[in-house]
């Protein structure tokens, strides 16, 4: 059909139009005719690389092995507000109290937008109970637990490797296109046209970091140590190997060569990984001074501020982002969540409706809309929203949706319905600690203290971030006269949330009672 178009021209055009499979096919044919056709090799290499390209500037979840081998602990006990593992709580930090705003599985305040890493537990640095993150990670990594939301790769590179194998199988060649092990990388490093695509291929497709290091090392020497790109690739490889300090050095040096946004993101990612959010923040804010109006930098700051519990600062940043890009889903979602938890469901409703109009139609959006409608008093919409959410939801979202419906049921006073909802949530996700907690409270109301206690126990076993569980268990134990248990549980609750007034009261009461004995 296209008789006289040069196949390479066509391949390049297909590559530009992101028709990678057709491009690879054309290049493969060309390579069969002429195995040493550099241009075809170059195009095929790029097509395969782009197929498995992922944006790696966002922090990804850390693997179990990375947690085990973590040697980058900076401060064992961080001061509040300097570590993501110890966000500021209470009135001092203007953050919302955990009573109002629930926590994620790792004990960080819930944000409005799920990113890789937001639901993951931080390494044990500075956490009140060292090793809990690792224990939680190991628990979640058990195969077959069904909680897909919390499953964690064994190693970070493990996840990359899995992605890689899939794309290679799609390439459909039996053997890999490039066997990096057998290449003379020094020779390639001297040919700058091929070296860069080869490096990306090894990085994104092969995930062979040693080879990337070798190639990039030769190439950066070839370029007279003045090429930011090679240093950035060195940094990337070091980062994936877990050599964070080396990675930081390379990236900082690259940033001196050329001020690129990618470098700022990478450096901030390393700081976040090292649990130095303040360093990452200063990186972002310096870069934002040089690149005014860049929403990526603003979002990075906002995420960190939110993680640290600086609610006001994060809000201001999200507003700035929206001024620059009115259709930024993340900013809208985070603002909506914040308005919801600061008792302004009407405003949150408007944000979520905006998201829906923009095409973010997901079970989570509908569930959030349902909750907002309920708390804003628009009862007629509440249940149709939840119906849609249930219709759209996958296995990962269902437990939370049922949990929320249970909350609504409590709100309208239908306790038996609420109990059924919480039971569904707990059955779908046996580790749903919040649902187990509420179920326990309802059992207590039905005068079934044994069942309630067992719900609390199950919840505590499933997750250790819900202070309500401990407080309720303490209250139950106190009512049953088990002062010992009550004291230990109330201590647990206070360890999780030191300013919880009810726990403090209970502790005072217990102390008085024990003194009287």
């Amino acid at each position: 059909m296209v008789a006289d178009v040069h196949p390479i021209w066509l391949a390049q055009s297909k590559l530009r139009r992101r028709r990678y499979d057709e491009c690879i096919q054309l290049c493969t044919d060309a390579l069969q005719r002429n195995p040493v056709d550099q241009v075809a090799w170059y195009l095929k290499c790029r097509a395969i690389t782009l197929k498995s390209w992922i944006d790696d500037t966002e922090i990804e979840e850390e693997g179990v092995a990375d947690l085990l081998m973590d040697e980058h602990n900076v401060a064992q006990v961080a001061r509040p507000g300097t570590s993501l593992a110890r966000p500021m709580t209470g009135a001092a930090a203007s953050g919302q109290s955990p009573v109002v705003r629930p926590m994620t599985g790792s004990g960080r305040p819930l944000t409005g937008f799920v990113r890789p890493g937001t639901s993951a537990a931080r390494p044990g640095t500075g956490s009140t109970k060292p090793g809990t993150a690792l224990a939680a990670a190991l628990k979640a990594a058990r195969p077959g637990t069904g909680s897909s939301s919390s499953s964690r790769p064994l190693t970070t590179s493990g996840r990359f490797v899995r992605l890689g194998t899939a794309s290679l199988a799609a390439a459909g060649h039996g053997g890999p296109f490039i066997a990096a092990e057998r290449l003379d990388l020094r020779k390639y490093a001297a040919r700058p046209h091929l070296a860069r695509v080869l490096c990306d291929y090894i990085l994104y497709v092969d995930h062979n970091m040693q080879k990337v290091l070798e190639l990039a090392g030769h190439a950066t020497a070839e370029a007279g140590f003045a090429d930011w790109w090679w240093k950035e690739r060195l940094g990337k490889a070091y980062y994936q190997l877990g050599l964070l300090r080396d990675a930081e050095k390379q990236l900082a040096s690259a940033a001196k060569n050329q001020d690129m946004l990618v470098l700022t993101h990478q450096l901030a990612k390393i700081s976040t990984r090292l649990d130095q959010p303040l360093a990452a923040l200063s990186l972002f804010s310096e870069a934002a001074g040089r690149h005014p109006g860049d929403i990526g930098l603003l979002l990075g700051q906002a995420r960190l501020q939110e993680g640290l519990g600086n609610r006001q600062a994060a809000l201001a940043l999200y507003h700035q982002v929206l001024a620059l890009d009115a259709s930024n889903v993340e900013a809208i979602a985070c603002l909506a969540a914040d308005h919801f938890y600061s008792d302004q469901p009407e405003l949150a409703l408007r944000y979520y409706r905006r998201l829906l109009q923009m095409g973010v139609v997901s079970a989570e959006t509908w569930a959030n809309l349902g909750l907002c409608c309920f708390y804003a008093g628009q009862y007629d919409f509440t249940f149709s929203c939840f119906e849609r959410a249930l219709a759209l939801a996958g296995d990962a979202a269902l437990p939370d949706i049922w949990y929320n419906i249970g909350q609504v049921a409590i709100g309208i006073g239908d306790l038996s319905w609420a109990q059924q909802c919480f039971r569904l949530a707990a059955a779908l996700d046996p580790g749903h600690a919040e649902a187990l907690n509420n179920l326990g409270v309802l059992q207590l109301k039905r005068r079934q203290p044994q069942q309630a206690a067992s719900c609390f126990r199950a919840g505590m076993k499933a997750a250790d971030h819900v202070f309500e569980l401990h407080y309720n268990a303490a209250l139950l134990a106190h009512r049953q006269g088990d002062l010992q248990e009550a004291v230990s549980q109330v201590k647990e609750a206070l360890a999780l949330y030191p300013e919880h007034t009810d726990s403090l009261e209970l502790k005072k009461l217990l102390k008085a009672q024990l003194n009287a004995l």
């Binding site: 059909m1 296209v2 008789a3 006289d4 178009v5 040069h6 021209w9 066509l10 390049q12 530009r16 139009r17 992101r18 241009v39 790029r46 782009l50 944006d55 500037t57 046209h193 091929l194 860069r196 695509v197 090429d227 930011w228 790109w229 001020d259 690129m260 946004l261 990618v262 993101h265 690149h291 005014p292 109006g293 860049d294 620059l324 890009d325 009115a326 259709s327 889903v329 905006r354 109009q357 923009m358 095409g359 139609v361 919409f381 149709s384 109990q419 059924q420 039971r423 046996p430 187990l436 059992q443 039905r446 005068r447 079934q448 044994q450 069942q451 067992s454 719900c455 126990r457 199950a458």
Partner: protein
């Protein structure tokens, strides 16, 4: 993700199975029409050239002005002044040929094309760029980039020169920046390179020489003596990403007034803006995959509103910055104004090229072309996307069906054991079955608290959850701190948990502090409703024990008497009962499993109680007598006013059979035997414990000894003893539970006996209370002395005092309270007391009719 969707003004599909790419579109007034209408020119890879002029909304046949086959693939189109005259003509790039056509209008409906000149190309062409190279005015030249890196320059009909670019692998997009008279392209090494036109023109032309230079360059420092000049890049910037498109335009707003255009590079993941010296001015990381871009001058509205109002005096020198249109692979159209995202709209298509043009006199129409040949003219309306979600529930809800379904589901849930759920319970069903028999029932008590007391919600402690088996009724306390004087009464609900069914009444005591800090107390005794203890079931036949009582009235209707009980009964049965008002049988089922039946004999006004358990009858009998008394009192109160002359004798119940002493004695014996067994078990346990401890001591001695003697099976002995202790302890627990049950049965039996005694001997209320005190239905367990002993003492006292036959009886010595060896004496005394009562002796002096000889002794009671 955008709130709005683009709106289509005009669209058509170009051919079938034709392919288009980035360069396949050009927009210009190609036929040099005097009214200046821009035409859309498209060329497919299949070699079809088309020209369209949209006239109105929607496609019409007359919109197509030209469709012709050029026999070669069309790689790129460019419109420009390639002739030197002021007319615009069309440059078409084929793989091996560059042709320039002039298009003339024939009439008003179609165009005619005529080839002006063409150049055959030595090397396969990749793309081309046009512009006034070298700063010439009034004409545009063309440069073609080929696949081996040759730039060939054409000045109208003549080929000017060709140059090979150094270190070339693959052609990238090529752009000409007029302000610096340089060409910008991206290389295979992911760099952006700029070449000055003057540098290219002055360099030596032949490929061999350049290759020599390259080799020298690669091998070492360039040798000085090379003929001709090398091609030298003006500047090089490492972008790190492949460029998709390179354009020139003025994006940055805050440049100087005379600032030349910027270079816009759309790369795979980032959008870069550089100035002409190769410095990065702006980077924007894209969170989508871009497809193509087009800079366009912002409309007059926006410029006048934004910049003109701010600085009107600078507006003459400074053109407003251009906006940038980016189409993405997520089917969205983004409009950027500087850093700001000015507009985002959804697209129906995935374009490979976008342009902004004035069509039919309308400014700012967006022309988009996708690679399958859909050509569309769009505009950005504020219309929300089509698949907008609507809240309105159109279908009518069938509430009755929904309610029925909900009920069915609820029953299913209940049947599946949905009442109580325990994540850790292994066998909840089994536990539920067992628990149902001994289920304690909730009683909701409504107390009214005057509001001069504290608020009801300031309850200090809510008790009422007595451990199972205890007799403790609930204790609820209210904090009282002197109160508001407002009149009125507050409702307060206290929930109490009952676990013991040997009493049918309860007492509520409220303690409170009055305003002057005085502790005060108020109490209320109340009858517990029968519905708490038992429910009505279909009649059963169980006649192990029978009691018949007679009344001096006609028989009352059972359904009317026990109307409140029907509420709890099984609906079908309740319906059957209420329908046949004259039912003369009614059965009750107790929580503990006993069943009692009442039979009414219509004629005689007699009631017979039948039961499988002796003890269970008392509650039913008591209720029956109470309800009968109430029923007849109410029935006779009304006609009493009318017919006062005929006053019937007061209602009474009589019992004419012999008292069921033997049944009571059986219960006594059972209770006593259990006590003895428990005592024996206790003793055995004590012995075993002593034995265990001594074995332990010996073992300890052996273990502490440096050279210990052999164990001599002491360990076996210890294990045996331990097992025995455990067995005994379990046995004792069992016995204790049984004893409790036996005690309750005994209490109930005594209650029944007391009632029957009352009916038989027609005891007055005062007398009945006395007897009740002596023959107490409350069975208190003690370690040594229990009900048997205390009752015997009470009987002895009665025999000595009120029922004494002679002074000798009264003078008998009172033995101290001691554990009884057997129950013979007790039985004898009880029957003696009842026998004396039957002989007419009375407990109270005034009521004795005949021989109240020693009634004065009551005073000592």
């Amino acid at each position: 993700m955008s709130l709005f969707s683009s709106r289509e003004w005009w669209s058509t599909r170009l051919g079938t199975a034709e392919e288009f790419d980035q360069g396949s579109i050009a927009i210009a007034n190609i036929d040099n029409d005097t009214n200046g209408n821009a035409k859309i020119i498209t060329g497919s890879l299949q070699g079809v050239l088309r020209v369209h002029l949209p006239h109105q909304r929607g496609y019409h046949v007359e919109d197509m002005l030209l469709e012709t086959e050029l026999e070669r693939s069309i790689l790129q189109l460019a419109a420009g002044n390639f002739l030197g005259s002021s007319s615009i003509c069309l440059a078409v790039l084929h793989p091996r040929k560059l042709a320039v056509y002039a298009l003339q209008a024939v009439g008003s409906s179609y165009l005619q094309h005529s080839k002006i000149y063409e150049h055959h190309l030595e090397h396969t062409a990749a793309n081309m760029a046009t512009g006034p190279f070298g700063g010439i005015a009034g004409v545009e030249h063309i440069v073609v980039q080929s696949y081996d890196g040759q730039l060939t320059f054409f000045e109208q009909e003549a080929m000017a020169f060709s140059r090979f670019l150094p270190s070339f692998l693959l052609p990238g997009p090529l752009a000409y920046a007029a302000a610096s008279d340089s060409f910008i392209t991206s290389t295979a090494g992911l760099e952006l390179v700029a070449y000055k036109y003057s540098n290219l023109a002055a360099a030596s032309g032949s490929k061999e020489q350049q290759q020599q230079q390259q080799q020298q360059q690669a091998g070492g420092p360039p040798a000085g003596a090379v003929s001709g000049k090398r091609i030298q890049a003006d500047w090089t910037v490492v972008l790190g990403e492949a460029a998709l498109d390179i354009r020139t335009g003025r994006i940055t707003a805050n440049t100087r007034a005379d600032a030349p255009a910027d270079i816009l590079v759309l790369a795979e993941h980032t959008f870069f803006v550089l100035n002409l010296r190769g410095q990065l001015l702006l980077q924007r990381r894209l969170d989508y995959h871009p497809a193509c871009c087009w800079p366009f001058p912002a409309g007059p509205d926006s410029s006048s509103s934004s910049s003109a109002t701010a600085n009107p005096n600078q507006q003459q020198q400074q053109r407003p910055p251009e906006n940038l249109l980016v189409a993405t692979h997520t089917k969205a159209l983004m409009v950027y104004r500087g850093q700001e995202l000015a507009w985002a709209a959804r697209l129906e298509m995935l374009p490979v090229a976008v342009r902004v043009a004035a069509l039919e006199g309308m400014q700012g129409m967006i022309v988009a072309l996708d690679d399958t040949g859909k050509l569309a003219v769009l505009y950005l309306g504020s219309e929300p996307p089509k698949q907008s979600v609507s809240f309105a529930e159109s279908k009518q809800l069938d509430y009755a069906a929904m309610e029925a379904e909900r009920k069915a589901l609820l029953t299913q849930i209940k049947a599946a054991g949905g009442a109580g759920w325990d994540p850790a319970a292994a066998a909840p069903a089994a536990a539920a079955g067992k628990g149902a028999a001994a289920a304690a029932k909730d009683l909701v008590l409504r107390a009214q608290v005057p509001s001069r007391l504290d608020d009801a919600d300031r309850i200090v402690r809510e008790g009422g959850e007595g451990p199972p088996g205890s007799n403790a009724d609930g204790v609820a306390g209210f904090g009282a701190a002197g109160g508001a004087a407002a009149a009125g009464v507050k409702q307060l609900t206290v929930t109490l948990l009952l676990s013991n069914t040997t009493k049918s009444s309860m007492k509520v005591v409220a303690c409170y502090r009055s305003a002057d800090k005085q502790l005060q107390c108020s109490q209320l005794a109340l009858q517990l409703p029968m519905i708490l203890f038992c429910q009505v079931i279909p009649p059963v036949k169980s006649a192990e024990y029978k009691v018949t009582v007679a009344t001096n009235r006609d028989a009352a209707q059972l359904v009317a008497l026990f109307g409140d009980m029907l509420v709890q009964a099984h609906p079908a049965h309740a319906e059957a009962l209420s329908r046949s008002q004259a039912a003369n049988v009614m059965s009750f089922h107790f929580g503990g499993g006993q069943e009692v039946t009442i039979l009414v004999s219509k004629n005689a006004g007699r009631y017979r109680l039948q039961a499988d358990s002796f003890a269970a009858m008392w509650l039913v009998l008591q209720e029956l007598s109470r309800r009968l008394a109430g029923h007849f009192a109410a029935a006779e109160a009304k006609p009493a006013a009318a017919q006062q002359q005929q006053q019937p004798p007061p209602f009474s119940i009589t019992f004419d059979e012999s008292l069921p002493l033997q049944d009571v004695f059986e219960l006594v014996d059972r209770h006593f035997a259990l006590r003895a067994a428990l005592a024996a078990a206790n003793e055995a346990l004590e012995q075993r414990e002593v034995q265990f401890r001594s074995v332990q001591k010996r073992l300890l001695v052996r273990y502490k000894d440096r050279n210990a003697a052999p164990l001599n099976q002491l360990d076996v002995l210890m294990e045996e003893t331990y097992d025995q202790i455990l067995d005994l302890a379990t046995q004792m627990e069992q016995l204790q539970a049984e004893l409790l049950a036996a005690g309750q049965a005994l209490g109930a039996g005594v209650q029944l006996l007391l009632l029957l005694t009352r009916f038989r001997f027609k005891l007055a209320a005062e007398e009945f209370e006395l007897l009740r005190c002596a023959l107490s239905p409350v069975v208190l367990e003690g370690p040594e002395v229990s009900w048997e002993e205390t009752t015997e003492a009470a009987m002895t006292h009665l025999l000595r005092s009120a029922l004494a036959r002679s002074a000798k009886d009264a003078a008998a010595a009172v033995p101290p309270l001691a554990p009884a060896a057997d129950t013979a004496r007790l039985k004898k005394h009880i029957s003696l007391v009842l026998e004396r009562l039957s002989k007419g002796m009375r407990l109270v002096a005034g009521s004795s009719s005949n021989n109240g000889g020693s009634a004065a002794a009551v005073a000592a009671h």
